[in-house]
Structure formats: structure tokens, C-alpha cells
Amino acid sequence: MNSALDIENLSVSYGKKIALENISLSIPAGQITGIIGPNGSGKSTLIKSAMNLIPANSGNVRMLGSELDKVRKRVSYVPQRESVDWDYPVSVFDVILMGRYRPGRLFLPLSAEDRKIAEESLERVQLTEYRNTQIGQLSGGQQQRVFIGRALAQRAELYLMDEPFAGVDAATEKAILDLMFDMKSQGQSIVLIHHDLVSVRDNFDHLVILKNKLIASGPTSEVFTTKNLIASYGGSMRIMQELDV
């Protein structure tokens, strides 16, 4: 089986605080993979250091079988919604167009093809009617869809999403999930950080459980167990009983 993301011995620390300790895992291609763990368990750090946005102390990362710099065009990163200033004076379409920007061609105008792809992405995240709206006027769920629309415009094969369901309403969550299943059916790989344990089993093929160390990584049916969840979240997780895992 091809892998979307291979991580070997990755360690990251902030000052003296260890965020990730010696993580090794392999995420299969063409599937939806969830990364779960409590706050501060290193989920965002894992994705960011894999994307080379924060420096790692040690470790080796391969995406789609190659080094990141060779496959950047085929990889899309969706940051946390809170990471940007939504008062920034750009419209929904402006942001989605940014998916088509390329480092070597920033000084050149975008092609008609680029605009067409951005229009299609706008439609796929159902924001056509908000095309020219300033992004600060949108609801949380709509803002999240702007980010996903921008990622779709990249026409990537591997999508790394940092909490795409944070602060979105149920309808938007459903819409985003449908979109992800659609992307998966086209052979794309999706890796996302997730908070809500209730929806894990129905939606993720593969699961990574973190607690600064790797607790488990494997098919959801195998690793989504009470033992692993307690190892990650600790005994305080009452929700475990409700989940009936």
C-alpha cells in the first residue's frame, strides 16, 4: 500500500518543553486519517513540523514517498482558522485564489485556468453567493469552508488539515465531511486533526492517537480502544463510557 505520510523518529521541543518525542508512523494514501489527543498533545506540532513550518530537533519526514520540497505542489496545508486575522481586507474569492499562487510565479498574473479552478473550488464549498464578501463577515463554518476551498484550489493529492471542524455548526460539519468523502473517492489523501471523539469511528479509516508520544497508529477499528484513549486522555475521560468503545 502506498503511504501518504511517513514520519521517522520525529522529535520537537519548544525551549525545554518536549512537544513530540520520537514519533514514527506511516499514514496510508487514499484514506481519511484522524489525529486525536488532548490539548497540548502535539497534534498541531506534528502537522506543522511535517510541513517544515517549525523546526524539528531530529527526524525524517516523507510525503507521497518523497521529500517535501519535491512534492510541495501536491500537498496542501490547511492552518487552524484562528491562525489568521479575519479582518484582513480580502474577499472570499481573493483567499481561494491564493490556492493558485505559486512561489516562482508570484510576480506574474494568474492565468484564466487558475481563475477557473478557483471558481470551481468556490462552488464546491458552496460559497458562490459570498464570492465578494469580506472574510470577516462570515460565520465560523463559512470561514472554515473558505480555507478548505483554498486548499481545493491547490488541486493537491495530500491534504493536511488542522482542526477543520473547530467551531463549525452541525450542517457545515456534514457538508465538509461529504466533501472529504468525495475527495477520498477521487483518490486523495486527507489527514486531519480532530477533537470530537464521538464521530471518530464513522468517519476515519485510519487513526493516530497522540500524547506527545505516539500512543497508537493504525486502522480505526483496531486502535480506537478504551485502553489507547485512556493512555492518551487519562482516566478523566468520562466520555469513554458514553462512547461504548
Binding site: G15, D85, P89, V90, S91, L106
Partner: protein, 279 residues
């Protein structure tokens, strides 16, 4: 005629400052602009001293060098967990500026800068400092400098519009695409340094910040699109120059001071009418 030259040069200073100031505001780096406007002084004085008053390249080079020292040392100090960015900025730019102030007093006889000039500039002398080409009087030197810089800025910002927008709005996303966000940051710092150096003689190190911030901050109050922010802030820059001049004329006070003060009045005015404009 002299009054018109002063207004025109003031307008050019405000326009140039507002063009780079917009980007500083959106990147939340206004304090870096403030720091740069002070920190370039030692470089400028050395440039004047070694290359002469009229050699702009030497002065710009010295200023750019001092600016680089500022930016690099802020980044270096920021890495320490003991010091936050704003402390690092405050610490370094004042040291650099004080070196500049000392150098001005040391070289007072050789360099045409004095301490008052450094702080407030003297836009009233603009019509006196003229540029002669083959013996023909072409008009004030500051006018041609400001105009040349404006042309360069418009051209540069036209082509780097996407790059600055991407790296300002979402630097992580930009970096994930392989865009060198540090290079873009240095690029902006170079533009700001050039603007600050050219504006320095006219409005000084302190008031230049008003021109960097006020037009863009006022435009942001009533506009949601990048392109209209450029247009609006340019219009505001011109209003500040004209309004400030007549305020100074009416009250017989400092021209650059009145222009900076008028920028505050303009901001308050826009703030007050903002609800009507948006509605």
C-alpha cells in the same frame, strides 16, 4: 510658488509613507516601521560623512546597513525566551538612534544634519534646496527624490501585490507552499528604509510614523478591499499634506508638525463618519 512646492513635497512624503505603511499595518509591524525610522540615523550620518551630502546612494546604503543591523538583532534577541519582540525592538532602535544622535553632534560641522532636523525635519526649507541640471534650475531636490521613489514604489507594489498579500494574510500557508516569507519580510524592510530615508529630511524621524500609519489606518476603517485601501490611503495622504499645510499657515507653526497633527484629525473624522459610510 514656495507654498505649492511645500504642499507637493509633503504630499509625496505622505503618499510614499502610506504605500508601505499599509503593509506594515496589515502585518502588525508598525512598530518595526517606527524603529526603522530611528535606527537608520547612524547609517545615514556615516553615509553623509563618507560620501557627501549629495550622494544619495551612499546615504541609502548606510541607512540600509543600519536597518539590517536592527532587523537582524531583533530576530536574534527574540529567540531568547527572556525577551519579547516589543522589548527587543525598544531596546535596539533606541541604542542605534542614540549612536546616530551622538554622531550628528560629532560631525556637526561636516554634515548638514542637526539634531532638531533629525527629530522634526524641516519641510519649510524644501524650496531652497534645489536641483540643477546643466545649470538649469529643475526645482526642489526633495520633489524629484519623492517623485522618483513614488514611481519605483508603484511599480514594485504593482508586481508584488500577490506576494505581499499572501505572506501578510497567512504566512504559515505561504510557507507551506514553499514561499520564502523571511525574504518577503526583508524586501518590505528595504522598501520602508528607502521611504524613511527619503522622507527623513522633510519630516524627521518622529513624525514619519504618523505618515506611515494614519492614511492606512483611516482607510481600513471604511474599506474592506486591498485595492481600495491603496486608493483611499493615497487620497488621505494628499488631504493630510494639504490640510496640514494650511493649518500651519493659519496658526504660524511647524509645517511637518501640523501635517502629522492633521493626520490625527483626519483619523478621528473618518472614525466619526464611518458608520454612515458603511451603511
Amino acid at each position: 510658488m514656495d507654498s505649492i512646492w511645500i504642499i507637493v513635497v509633503g504630499g509625496l512624503v505622505a503618499l510614499n509613507c502610506s504605500l508601505v505603511g499599509n503593509l506594515l499595518i496589515l502585518r502588525k509591524s508598525v512598530m518595526i516601521g517606527d524603529a526603522l525610522s530611528h535606527a537608520v540615523l547612524p547609517g545615514m550620518v556615516m553615509g553623509y560623512f563618507y560620501f557627501g551630502d549629495t550622494n544619495l546612494i551612499g546615504v541609502l546604503g548606510g541607512a540600509a546597513l543600519a536597518g539590517l543591523v536592527l532587523v537582524l538583532s531583533i530576530e536574534w534577541l527574540k529567540k531568547s525566551p527572556l525577551l519579547k519582540e516589543d522589548s527587543a525592538i525598544g531596546l535596539i532602535y533606541t541604542v542605534l538612534f542614540s549612536i546616530g544622535v551622538i554622531l550628528v553632534s560629532v560631525f556637526a560641522s561636516q554634515v548638514h544634519l542637526d539634531q532638531e532636523h533629525v527629530l522634526y525635519g524641516e519641510i519649510a526649507y524644501v524650496p531652497l534646496d534645489r536641483w540643477f541640471m546643466n545649470g538649469t534650475d529643475m526645482g526642489p531636490r526633495s520633489f524629484w527624490l519623492g517623485l522618483g521613489l513614488l514611481a519605483i514604489l508603484i511599480l514594485v507594489l504593482r508586481f508584488s501585490f500577490k506576494g505581499f498579500n499572501l505572506t501578510s494574510f497567512d504566512p504559515d500557508f505561504a510557507a507551506s507552499k514553499g514561499v520564502r516569507i523571511k525574504v518577503w519580510n526583508y524586501f518590505l524592510m528595504i522598501l520602508v528604509t528607502a521611504v524613511v530615508v527619503v522622507s527623513f529630511e522633510n519630516v524627521g524621524a518622529v513624525l514619519v510614523v504618523a505618515f506611515l500609519v494614519a492614511p492606512g489606518a483611516s482607510a481600513l476603517l471604511i474599506s474592506h478591499r486591498m485595492k481600495s485601501i491603496y486608493t483611499l490611503s493615497s487620497a488621505f495622504a494628499l488631504i493630510i499634506a494639504i490640510g496640514g499645510f494650511f493649518l500651519a499657515d493659519f496658526t504660524s507653526t511647524s509645517i511637518s508638525g501640523s501635517m502629522a497633527f492633521f493626520s490625527g484629525i483626519l483619523f478621528i473624522f473618518v472614525w466619526l463618519i464611518r458608520k454612515r459610510v458603511r451603511a
